[in-house]
Subunit: 257 residues, 2 copies
């Protein structure tokens, strides 16, 4: 039953990307829109006739202009009313979530995006991913929003100390899989971010996070949720994001009353 | 920039499928659930941990158990009320649309699936695609539905002669691309089916059809729509079906008043 597929070689652009579960997908990229190396990573934006401009960080696929389903999933798929709500976005360098929220009359949206790494991404998105961020990065602050380009852990710790809380916290910073890897300082950074996020989340609030729906990622994450000091409930949605070529799982998490 | 991806060879199962726009996608198939040759085509059902059981006809991907988004798109994505409505499905051999409609108290659903070709598909779906058809093929008729396994053109012509009309006609028989190819008898079969479908559609009715969102397929189809003798309006939705690995376009079509 095995056959070797026809591979396109010698192309100007490498069309092959592997998914998080190591499957090959061929894209229809037809041009490089942007490519730069920051001190921390390679940033590429490639154009696809189907998916629009698509962001790659170190050849790892991030988001494409076709992928508003991702933004919807990370904001509760239309179930929430953001009017007059106080929202915190962790990450979100492509601007999709910020733009989506600003259409819905929030009280205030704070976006914390990691310093150094992401200023170049934000600048590139502002120019070349306008199908995702639209005009929301044209200014990094406004009447009801502020984009802070700095490390989110110290800021979250300060919020926790100050007793500052939010109606919604959206973790667009790390995928669930990363949380399995211990970081340099032997602390589990994603676990730390989850703990801090729940600390700054109002009792009635909601928290969103996501990851690939493969390699036992959801099971491991749900184990982690069960071990939290204060009990939480969750809603799990498995969704196809157009440019991802694998299913992703989105979690809406809230504190048990 | 070009590199050769690592290809898996000598596997029990060929994991590579090409999309309608000739891009390679690697699937995570882990076993053959069913394989038979009918006099007309090869029928395969393969299992994927991500997508569930997946139907292939002559190695052309049809639908997987993960793909309820397809069924929703072909029935108006929740915008329509099927209660007490008279519905005609053309094709639909996997049973997804029939099952979905029967959950919504229709007056009557008639499904016309091509004879010869599809009886084996229906039989295989009944056993191995229950995540799509559930129990709707356990009997091929009921109080409010009938599955007729016969060629749909003569039946549609008879309906047209009898003045029989439907609130909804769902064309799950042919993808839009096929309509570009003239058939043996030098008539454009999909054009004929479109014409007949609109003939048996009530003035207030809706018609659905779909195709890949690549290779100018939508533009060509919209040209075809403009040339219809009686003018129609349409709504176009571009949707990612989980197992398809390319965007598809779904048309809701209705008669201009």
């Amino acid at each position: 039953l095995s056959r070797l597929p026809f591979l396109k070689r010698g192309m100007r652009l490498d069309p092959y990307i592997t998914t998080t579960s190591e499957q090959i997908v061929e894209y229809d990229f037809d041009r490089v829109v942007y490519e730069e190396n920051s001190p921390y990573q390679n940033i590429k934006i490639l154009h696809s006739p189907q998916y629009g401009n698509l962001l790659l960080l170190d050849d790892d696929q991030n988001l494409a202009e076709s992928d508003v389903a991702y933004t919807y999933a990370m904001t509760g798929n239309g179930r929430e009313d953001f009017t007059d709500k106080d929202v915190l976005i962790l990450g979100g360098g492509d601007g999709g979530i910020l733009y989506h929220l600003l259409q819905q009359s929030p009280k205030f949206v704070t976006m914390l995006e990691i310093s150094f790494l992401y200023q170049m991404v934000i600048d590139a998105a502002t120019k070349y991913l306008r199908g995702i961020c639209h005009d929301c990065f044209d200014s990094l602050s406004g009447d009801n929003y502020l984009v802070r380009v700095e490390d989110c852990v110290p800021v979250l710790e300060q919020y926790a100390r100050d007793g500052r809380t939010f109606d919604y916290v959206i973790n667009d910073l790390t995928d669930i899989p990363i949380s399995q890897e211990p970081t340099d300082d032997h602390l589990d950074l994603p676990q730390k971010i989850l703990d801090l996020s729940l600390k700054v989340l109002k009792t009635s609030g909601k928290y969103w996070t996501h990851g690939a729906n493969t390699n036992d990622v959801p099971q491991k994450f749900e184990e982690q949720l069960k071990q939290l000091p204060k009990p939480v409930d969750f809603l799990k949605e498995v969704i196809a994001i157009p440019s991802y070529h694998e299913l992703w799982v989105f979690y809406t998490i809230w504190k048990k009353s």
